[in-house]
């Protein structure tokens, strides 16, 4: 076991050194190939081209659900994870209600662009629905504002208190959305939300097929990676890391910690709202039961599983938390596992679909026990944690 682990570590170390030694052109080329691969993922033709047998089992391909839909889901979760990574990973603030900002973004787009929303049918505040592209900046701005409004009082709290307050905030947003006679129409929800613009050959690009949405969200993610990468290498990013490591020391060194924490919170919220707006554009329908608290927790799990404080870790985590449960659904088909067993006359559903979150929970625990720093941690943070492991421990 230890032998295997040291060998794995050597292998990884060797690979990363080899990567560092490549000339810049090769690096960019390899990254481009990988990006093309990502764009090709939902295309069935791509798998045919690779010579994989279609129809039966295809590795990577989710057979129970449309692959493009699953990938789009992964996409907006990755965006959420990127946003939360700023808050949790860089600034070190524990936010358990991040999905609330997603809801703000989604509902802003929904109420403004749908002709069935109460703004037009009851209140007559506006004459005609907005196009999606116009509502998008407002959705981002409003979630950013929600981040500031929530962050302004609660960022004076520390650690776990912050956690419960943000959790409460997400729950409050959900309850407001639940009110049937209010603007968000509760359970009945808002339908006919506008799709993103664009048409090819007379037909709109963004309709019910999930593929173009996946390509859109992938593009957004790539843009966001560049943006966040530059941000964390700037003065702002260094201030965040300083706050995460030691808030008091940072304050003494002249970092206005409160201001930068608020910044991180608002930035994260804005990205969360962006993700919500994208999702609403695809889903065409939102109602209050879309926003469950479990989802906030899933996003947090994504960030920490991937490795807090690393952009690519967050991407990996966001991908895994959606993809693994979906993929587990098709695993049952592959191995021909039974869907049902009868115990004492009562039928029990043992399909992978039913048990996927059970397995997912086990996977979370196992990964955290063997890689408490996450799957793909930030180098600097990994070093900090390694240091921690060496610290003298008593009575364990």
């Amino acid at each position: 076991m230890t032998d295997l682990r040291t060998r794995w570590r050597d292998f990884r170390h060797g690979m990363s050194q080899r990567w560092d030694r490549q000339p810049k052109a090769t690096k960019i080329g390899l990254i481009l190939v990988f990006v093309v691969f990502l764009y090709a993922l939902p295309e069935k033709g791509f798998y045919e081209y690779l010579g994989l047998p279609l129809g039966e089992y295809i590795p990577l391909y989710t057979t129970r659900n449309d692959m493009a839909t699953v990938l789009f889901q992964c996409g907006y979760y990755i965006l959420l994870a990127l946003g939360l990574n700023i808050v949790v990973g860089y600034a070190g603030l524990l936010d358990l209600g991040f999905f609330g900002f997603f809801a703000v973004g989604a509902y802003t787009v929904a109420t403004l662009t749908s002709p069935t929303s109460k703004i037009f049918t009851e209140y007559n505040w506006l004459d005609s629905p907005w196009p999606w592209l116009v509502a998008l900046p407002l959705a981002i701005a409003l979630s950013l504002l929600a981040g500031v409004i929530l962050g302004w009082p609660v960022l004076r709290l520390r650690g776990d208190y912050l956690a419960i307050v943000t959790l409460g905030f997400a729950e409050m947003i959900r309850i407001v959305a639940q009110q049937n006679d209010w603007i968000f129409n509760g359970d009945r929800g808002i339908s006919q939300i506008a799709h993103p613009p664009g048409s090819s050959g007379g037909k709109p690009i963004f309709a019910f097929d999930a593929k173009p949405y996946y390509w859109l969200v992938l593009t957004v993610i790539i843009a966001m990676v560049f943006l966040i990468r530059n941000l964390v290498r700037s003065r702002v990013g260094r201030a965040w890391v300083a706050i995460r490591e030691d808030e008091d020391a940072a304050e003494l060194m002249g970092v206005p910690t409160y201001k930068f924490k608020l910044w991180a919170f608002a930035m994260g919220a804005g990205i969360g709202g962006f993700s919500g707006a994208l999702w609403a554009g695809q889903a065409n329908f939102v109602n209050s039961s879309t926003f469950r608290l479990e989802q906030s927790i899933l996003v947090l799990a994504a960030v920490l599983l991937g490795g807090a404080g690393n952009i690519f870790g967050a991407i990996l985590g966001g991908f895994l938390v959606i993809y693994v449960p979906e993929w587990l659904r098709s695993v049952g088909d592959v191995f021909g596992l039974p869907e049902q067993v009868r115990i004492a006359g009562e039928p029990y559903d043992v399909s992978a679909t039913n048990l996927r979150y059970l397995f997912f929970g086990i996977i979370l625990i196992v990964i955290m026990i063997f890689r408490p720093q996450g799957l793909w941690p930030n180098r600097r943070r990994a070093a900090e944690l390694k240091d921690r492991e060496k610290e003298a421990m008593v009575g364990v």
Partner: protein, 316 residues
């Protein structure tokens, strides 16, 4: 704003609020104990509670009582409730310890960062609730009626039902028992010592891991008691029943000052009352909204909760 409703319903609202609050308080004790010792939000605690609600139902069905059967006589009911409490408490205690041994202890041994514990807690919570979901086919289970729910002991417009009276009595006994245990016994001293400074107490000869296991056990026992009471109050249970009630209980623990036992009890009862008054004032739709609003407002003015954090310091 329906002030009328609040004023007219005040006695009833107070009594139901107290009973609901007592249940929150019992669960909150589990959160606060673990937090006090490990500085860890034990997310799986709500699902440990959920298992207890099933434990009680299974106990009763073993004696032939289900949702459709008639109410047993008062003596029988007393026996059945005590038995259910014992079974549910032991079941919860067992699962709480199982969570500690499988999900937290291996991480402590590696001195993992605090956020890693949060993830294994989430994982454990998934495993418990989804495992139970698969085991029970995600069905809703009715709870057999145990105690009469017509009001007795009327004083003016104040009255209380036997069910509420029992809930309050059981909760108070459990809390007093816990307080005695932590304040007066050798084990309790161990818990307070580890809460105050884990490493120093380990150097002084306290078996740290045993104390932590004990803390999970006690938290589980309290959750088991709460599970039986909540079963009788809610009249049904499901595999995901723990989530919301656990969330409220955690809020209650924070309200009173997390890590502080008496704070958790106070916070639970306050949250139950505030929720009930609030839902009369603003409509039942806003029941959960008000609880969190009060919590946020309170934390802004008293950032460490009502009684402050201190499992280790001086009084528990």
């Amino acid at each position: 704003m329906q002030f009328n409703e609040l004023i007219h319903g005040f006695p009833v609202l107070t009594v139901t609020g107290l009973t609901q609050g007592a249940i929150y308080a019992l669960i909150a004790l589990g959160y606060t104990l673990v937090y006090g010792v490990l500085r860890l939000i034990n997310f799986a605690h709500s699902d440990v509670f959920m298992i207890g609600t099933f434990g009680a139902i299974w106990t009763w069905s073993a004696f032939g009582f289900d949702a459709s059967s008639g109410r047993p006589s008062l003596g029988e009911a007393a026996g059945l409730i005590i038995l259910a409490i014992v079974v549910a408490a032991l079941l919860c205690g067992f699962f709480a310890m199982l969570v500690e041994v499988t999900a937290y202890r291996p991480l402590r041994a590696r001195n993992a960062p605090p956020l890693a514990f949060l993830i294994t807690a989430i994982g454990a919570s998934f495993v418990l609730s989804e495992g139970m979901g698969a085991f029970t086919n995600r069905r809703q289970f009715g709870v057999p009626a145990m105690l009469p729910t017509d009001p007795i002991a009327k004083i003016g417009s104040w009255s209380i039902t036997p069910l509420q009276l029992t809930t309050l009595a059981v909760a108070i006994i459990a809390m007093l028992g816990l307080d005695w245990f932590v304040q007066r016994t050798r084990f309790g001293r161990g818990i307070r010592a580890v809460a105050q400074d884990a490493n120093t107490s380990a150097l002084m000869g306290v078996n740290k891991n045993r104390v932590i296991l004990l803390v999970f056990l006690i938290g589980g026992l309290m959750a088991g008691v709460a599970a039986v009471l909540s079963d009788m109050k809610a009249a049904s249970t499901r595999f995901n029943v723990g989530f919301l009630i656990g969330l409220k209980a955690f809020a209650a623990a924070v309200l009173g000052g997390i890590g502080n036992l008496r704070g958790a009890a106070l916070g639970g009862i306050l949250l139950g009352l505030v929720e009930n008054y609030g839902s009369a004032l603003f409509g039942t739709n806003f029941r959960d909204f008000i609880g969190f609003l009060v919590l946020i407002l309170l934390l802004m003015f008293r950032p460490t909760g009502l009684l402050g954090e201190s499992l280790g310091r001086a009084r528990a």
